[in-house]
Symmetry: C2
């Protein structure tokens, strides 16, 4: 390798890193978490970034969910290109809801894999294992999850004995420590002689679903994040810190969740079982959000019913937008074959459900906070380097993170 | 008349008023104006309404502009029914931009005129004369503007000597007093022996465009409003207080307006003059907002160019949504023949312009505040009566104001 080399992938060109480069995707990092932590005095490194580095805002991908945005960040493209627009889509041919956690659903390669193929040392650490296989698709390098850190092997993950390296036990999947493990592993990897040239760290939003910005729990989390970022910075890394999506309170003043049960409403208004509501946030981990987010897609059997559904939804409290597949896929840059006939987005303080009996809210221990819609689209991009203004005179996306890190950081 | 009579109009039924009834449309009344005025102790009446009356939130019509929403409130319908979806539309046949201030563009009658026809004494006072002719369409009653209060005549307005009645001179069209005149006139009318059975008061958002919630100027305005509402309440009126739209800051931290000049951008990207951007906020009164709002519609010559425009707009900072006419008219309930091929909405802190040279910002004396998009859709509905909960378990619209006043107030 020489420093003049560039990597072209998915229609964009990235310059070879001048030093170790870290992109952090902090799950559910609404900007206020950072400003409150700084105000509380627990985030001196981030405070310094605001003064001496670059503090930008960007739009994430809608649906403002974890997988679509992580895949956008590591490919530098919207879901229309990489194909992952949620955790689930509905296969009309088989009549089944299909989980998109498998790399076979990816339609674009990652920047990470492209750099690794060109000889860069690449490492990926993610909180949950569900994302690990997508992020590590065709990647020659290190890629493991905190959740299954004890199972990491050279063959599967490019690394072994992770617990010894990190010096932490495997955390609970529902814990702040799951994210801390990601940062701790990243710092340890960066301290090794064969440190990564390019590293991607992706956390979980367990804390953000529970704790509002400025609360003790949130500030403690961002204090932890700040300390690890400072370590990475001290090790000479260029750091781009962004988020997959924002996070907002989705409950009334008494703490009850504001849920629009779309399947129930449409079964009543249109006809039992005539339409199918898909919530692409649905995944096996439901304790922190009960599969309730602010984005849904609906499959309908006819154009007449499509119009009836939209007309019905104009009367429902908390719905912000309901539009057809074509317009939704054009504007949000989604793959039309994996989106329903209607896309529904709820207002800032509302979430969308299917049927009352299909959501187990008994595990929700705190007033619901969630994400998915236009209200969670704005996310921070903080960089411990100066970015020239001409590189920011555009609609910045969180999936410009590698572009900013590699092409514009000074 | 007897109290059992009902009035059916535009597909809804309204009970005859049990006492004098006043609907107030407070232009640009973002909820925070009220909460801040109450917190500052200058709005004791509204504070009492929050405790002992009803405090609700409703969605206004998008485009969140004055005329569409005033017409929705007085007809009880969305623009798809009444036809007024802005100040301007583009007539493809003649190639001209057509102003919709003339009642001939109205496709529905008003609740006001219907009650007047049935024998109710009806009075309408509006700040600017531009709205007076629309509100007074086919109305047998009193209807005049503060702006032209000195010209009011029995023949044209159902009243004369308005300045003597109100005891105020004609205010400047750019002043808080223009709105105060509306309230003062309303109170005086309500004190007369032949007081109105039904009254509609509509103010101007000159103050709201200049002053943020909680500022001295805003609090002074809402203190004034509060005193007149208290007078109307003391006179026994049922009062429903709502807004045509919200209001948000549309500038950067240095006070410069965040403007997306759509015509310039599209002339560059698509071809000079190929598409036509219409800003339905445009009107002859530009001092307070420079014809800059958060909603625009675009006319294009072909489907290919329509797609190119939307694709171009996905790259532009501050655009929240760009969708086609069909979806926009279905969701926002707009008349398709008066909307362009694309509807564009900007983010909370951005506005949409045409070309730099077509906006005179020299008259903007304060950092820009404006409205028009999804971010300004939530407005308060305050009522000095109890509303049963079953009447509010729906998506409330500001155009449910007469329904709440006449059918649900206790």
């Amino acid at each position: 390798m020489n420093m003049e080399q560039t990597i072209a992938i998915n229609g964009r060109t990235y310059q070879w890193m001048k030093g170790p480069t870290v992109v952090v995707c902090c799950d559910g990092c609404q900007y206020e978490y950072i400003s409150e932590a700084i105000a509380a005095g627990v985030a001196p490194f981030l405070s310094n970034v605001l003064s001496n580095g670059s503090s930008l805002m960007a739009d994430c991908v809608v649906p403002a969910f974890t997988n679509p945005n992580n895949m956008s960040i590591v490919t530098g493209t919207p879901p229309a290109v990489h194909g992952i627009c949620g955790n689930y889509f509905f296969d009309r041919d088989t009549g089944e809801e299909v989980m998109m956690n498998d790399p076979k659903y990816m339609r674009a390669g990652t920047i990470l894999a492209a750099f690794a193929d060109a000889g860069a040392r690449v490492a990926v650490v993610t909180a949950k294992d569900k994302l690990r296989r997508l992020l590590g698709h065709k990647l020659k390098g290190i890629c493991f999850s905190a959740e299954k850190a004890d199972e990491a092997s050279i063959a599967e993950n490019g690394i072994e004995n992770v617990l010894d390296l990190v010096g932490m036990p495997v955390p609970s999947v529902y814990s702040a420590e799951l994210s801390e493990f990601v940062f701790a592993a990243g710092a340890k990897l960066m301290e090794r002689d064969d440190r990564p040239d390019l590293m991607y760290l992706s956390t979980t939003d367990y804390v953000q679903h529970k704790a509002a910005p400025g609360t003790a729990e949130a500030n403690a989390f961002y204090g932890m994040v700040d300390r690890y970022l400072a370590r990475l910075d001290a090790l000479g890394a260029t750091i781009v810190f962004t988020a997959d999506h924002g996070m907002n309170a989705k409950h009334d003043k008494d703490g009850r969740p504001n849920v629009i049960y779309l399947q129930d409403i449409l079964d009543d208004a249109i006809g039992q079982g005539l339409v199918r509501v898909i919530l692409p946030i649905t995944d096996p981990y439901v304790v922190h959000h009960g599969a309730l987010g602010s984005f849904a897609t609906i499959y309908v059997p006819s154009e007449k019913i499509r119009q009836d559904v939209i007309s019905t939804l104009t009367k429902i409290k908390g719905v912000e937008l309901a539009i057809g597949r074509s317009d939704a896929c054009s504007w949000f840059e989604l793959p039309p074959d994996r989106v329903g006939d209607i896309v529904v987005i709820s207002q800032k303080d509302y979430v969308l459900g299917t049927s009352v009996e299909r959501h187990d809210l008994s595990e929700l221990k705190a007033p619901l906070r969630s994400h998915g819609g236009l209200s969670e689209q704005a996310v921070p991009i903080l960089i411990n380097r100066r970015i020239p203004e001409e590189a920011t005179n555009r609609r910045l996306r969180n999936f410009d993170a590698f572009d900013l890190a590699l092409n514009h950081s000074r």
